[in-house]
């Protein structure tokens, strides 16, 4: 029987298996950030140990940092302490650290790929659920807790049970104004926020093949929102071209040799998946969410489902979500006035996302009542935004460009949406209070977010294309 892409990578990284238990899985690269690593460092040191393979770990400060005045000391004391600890711990253990203001600083899942750390065939972990992003390169990448961060510090391995395998095929070509974000929000609306729990997903089909690496990263990023352990895409020419020439990618003849190996990373024709779904691109339009988990989404022109159409056992939770959002069943959201727009995050904070935003903002201006957080995913993205003149387009539209970081995706810093306010966000989670206590998040694509900046309302971006 053939092997899946996932099997090929997983199996080649198993050091040994505990009978009736998890595998000892070797990790090629661990990324760390300031929020989920300090307890792992102190745990390790309490055991009297050093980091086992510091060269295979990369640190960046991103979750808990301000997105303005990064050249000044961080004002908030606890945040400053956390970032300082990351720097100290990294230095003490010989780990490369990209701090605030560093040309390579940025959101961990933006930095990893753009520096070429992320490569096909690797196993990658980080104490962050959106580590699934790196699966876009054909790697097995997944989020872990702090105990597991410490396991990797101590042994460059984690103990993991092997997940089941799911394939999601999306046929056809996405329509004009329909992005990879809409695709994954559509899949979420069909399978729910727990539809892939216990599985590792491989995304396939012509819609995926036609995507850029940035678009693929958006899809894999949100596989965790389906409950999946991770998501991945078989590498191809698009992948190899993206990786080629990046700082930490193999260079010259080593790169050519690596590509020959990477070309073997695909699911065999006779490989068996535990579950398979197929969707058609033609069924996908711009999407928005209306509830308090990413599975509660709909086509932008649709109406919120009626309570009676929901499974009886889930009706209370559904009603709670609508109450929090102050929406009614059967309500249409097109034309609904909103207050804030957030563009950025590890889901949609890459240069291609800002190009999409610029394509709508160019020559237009922000609705007066709209507040924005527009935040590049990294310093390199910020630099490219300037090189391409996107900063001028934003400025002319009356939109401020901030400095890189996770920002209002989880609002650990000051980038909060006030209680009761609606925010159209390109990030990945619309949980209660995610963007600040009482905030109401509507997830959407960069195009839909840009359209909302102009009109101040939930707007089909295709009107502007």
């Amino acid at each position: 029987m053939g092997k899946t892409l996932f099997d090929k990578i997983w199996d080649s990284h198993v050091v040994s298996e505990i009978s009736d238990g998890p595998s000892i899985l070797y990790i090629d690269r661990q990324f760390i950030h300031e929020v989920t690593s300090p307890q792992a460092f102190s745990g390790l040191e309490n055991r009297g140990r050093k980091v086992f393979r510091p060269d295979q770990i990369t640190a960046t400060a991103d979750h808990n940092i301000p997105t303005e005045n990064q050249h000044l000391p961080i004002k908030e004391q606890l945040s400053a302490l956390q970032v300082e600890k990351l720097k100290d711990n990294s230095t003490r253990h010989g780990i490369t650290y990209y701090g605030l203001g560093d040309v390579y600083n940025g959101i961990v899942h933006v930095v990893g790929p753009e520096l070429g750390y992320t490569q096909p065939g690797m196993t990658i972990v980080c104490g962050d659920s959106h580590t699934s992003t790196h699966g876009a390169f054909g790697s097995v990448a997944f989020g872990v807790g702090t105990s597991e961060v410490e396991m990797v510090f101590a042994s460059q391995c984690v103990l993991q049970p092997k997940p089941k395998k799911m394939r999601i095929i999306i046929n056809g070509e996405l329509g004009k104004g329909v992005t990879s974000k809409d695709l994954i929000l559509y899949v979420l609306s069909q399978l729910t926020a727990s539809g892939a729990t216990g599985y590792f997903i491989e995304f396939a089909g012509s819609a995926i093949r036609n995507m850029t690496m940035e678009a693929r990263m958006t899809v894999c990023n949100m596989s965790i929102e389906l409950g999946a352990r991770g998501g991945m895409i078989a590498p191809d020419q698009t992948t190899f071209e993206y990786v080629k020439g990046r700082k930490y990618a193999p260079q010259g003849a080593d790169f050519d040799a690596a590509v020959e190996k990477w070309k073997e990373l695909y699911s065999d024709d006779d490989a068996v998946f535990d579950k398979e779904y197929t969707f058609e691109s033609a069924d996908i339009t711009p999407m928005v969410t209306y509830g308090t988990n990413p599975g509660l989404g709909m086509k932008i022109a649709d109406s919120i489902p009626s309570v009676s159409s929901i499974e009886p056992s889930s009706q209370e939770t559904f009603k709670k979500a609508l109450k929090y959002m102050n929406f009614e069943e059967n309500q249409q959201l097109l034309g609904k006035e909103i207050d804030w727009v957030f563009i950025g995050s590890c889901t949609n904070g890459r240069i291609e996302d800002f190009r999409l935003v610029a394509s709508i903002l160019k020559g237009r201006t922000k609705a007066p009542h709209i507040n924005t957080y527009v935040v590049p995913g990294s310093y390199l993205v910020a630099q490219q935004i300037k090189e391409e003149g996107i900063d001028k387009i934003l400025e002319e539209a009356g939109v401020e460009l901030r400095e890189p970081g996770c920002s209002s995706c989880l609002a650990m810093n000051d980038d909060k949406v006030p209680p009761g306010k609606y925010c159209v966000a390109t990030s990945n989670r619309n949980f209660e209070g995610r963007q600040g206590p009482g905030s109401r998040t509507i997830l959407a694509s960069p195009l839909t977010a840009a359209a909302a900046i102009i009109t101040g309302k939930i707007t089909d971006p295709r009107e502007f294309l």
Binding site: V15, S16, I18, D20, P22, I24, Y26, V35, T36, P38, Q39, S42, G43, N46, R47, H63, N64, L78, S79, L81, Q82, K85, G127, S129, G143, V144, G145, T146, S147, E148, E150, M151, A154, S155, C157, L159, Q160, P161, A193, S194, T197, G198, G227, R229, N293, S313, S314, E316, T317, K320, L410, A411, M412, P419, R429, F431, E432, G433, P437, G438
Partner: protein, 197 residues
């Protein structure tokens, strides 16, 4: 460093009959700024437990004196979303040793197990029965029996078995921890590295 052992526990239970409880609700992001593992229990379910003026919301089960015990019972897809282990630390620090639901998110399940808290996954119908039992009698007691892998409603004797990986079961019964296990495997891991060069 050993984790706290679990064997059998007889206790009352605290019900939160809501589905899709994500880890942002269990511990909101603004409380993740600490650099140690203690004290997170104070902010467990912070935004469901306290209003905007930091006053306890009396109807929330953690504020309702009639509910107590070391068993937390939640709706399906418990612990979804962010991988923050702070959620597990908050649950353990508050004093829960067992979380019961019909479905757990993967990362959360690993995280609680690594902190000596047992996730007990039972059927949807048994979960409803447990919620009904607590609603009917908030002093109802439940028995967790890890060696036999059963969870029982004591008054009715109704019981269901649950799955746990034998390795993890052994860890919880004996207080073993994964990190110590891996450190003991370092020679084998170094051999593995040589084969990949």
């Amino acid at each position: 460093m050993p984790i706290e052992k679990i064997n059998t526990i007889v206790s009352r239970a605290v019900p939160i009959p809501i589905e899709e409880i994500d880890t942002d609700q269990i511990i909101p992001a603004r409380f993740l700024k600490a650099t140690d593992k203690i004290g997170f229990g104070d902010n467990l379910f912070r935004d469901w437990r306290y209003d905007n003026n930091n006053q306890p919301i009396p109807s929330f089960p953690l504020n309702d004196a009639k509910y107590t015990g070391s068993i937390l019972v939640g709706g399906k897809n418990f612990g979804c979303g962010s991988s923050r282990e702070h959620a597990a630390w908050a649950i353990a620090d508050y004093g829960f040793r067992v979380v019961v639901s019909s479905f757990f998110a993967d990362i959360f399940k690993n995280n609680v197990l690594n902190n000596g808290v047992l996730p007990v996954q039972i059927s949807e119908s048994f979960l409803s029965e447990i919620f009904r039992e607590i609603e009917h009698n908030n002093e109802a007691e439940f028995k967790l029996d890890l060696p036999n892998q059963t969870f029982t409603i004591i008054s009715s004797g109704k019981s269901e078995s649950f799955d746990i990986n034998p390795y993890k079961k052994d860890c919880l019964l004996n207080g073993f921890d994964d990190i110590d296990y891996l450190i003991n495997k370092l020679p084998e891991i170094e051999e593995f590295e040589k084969t990949r060069k």
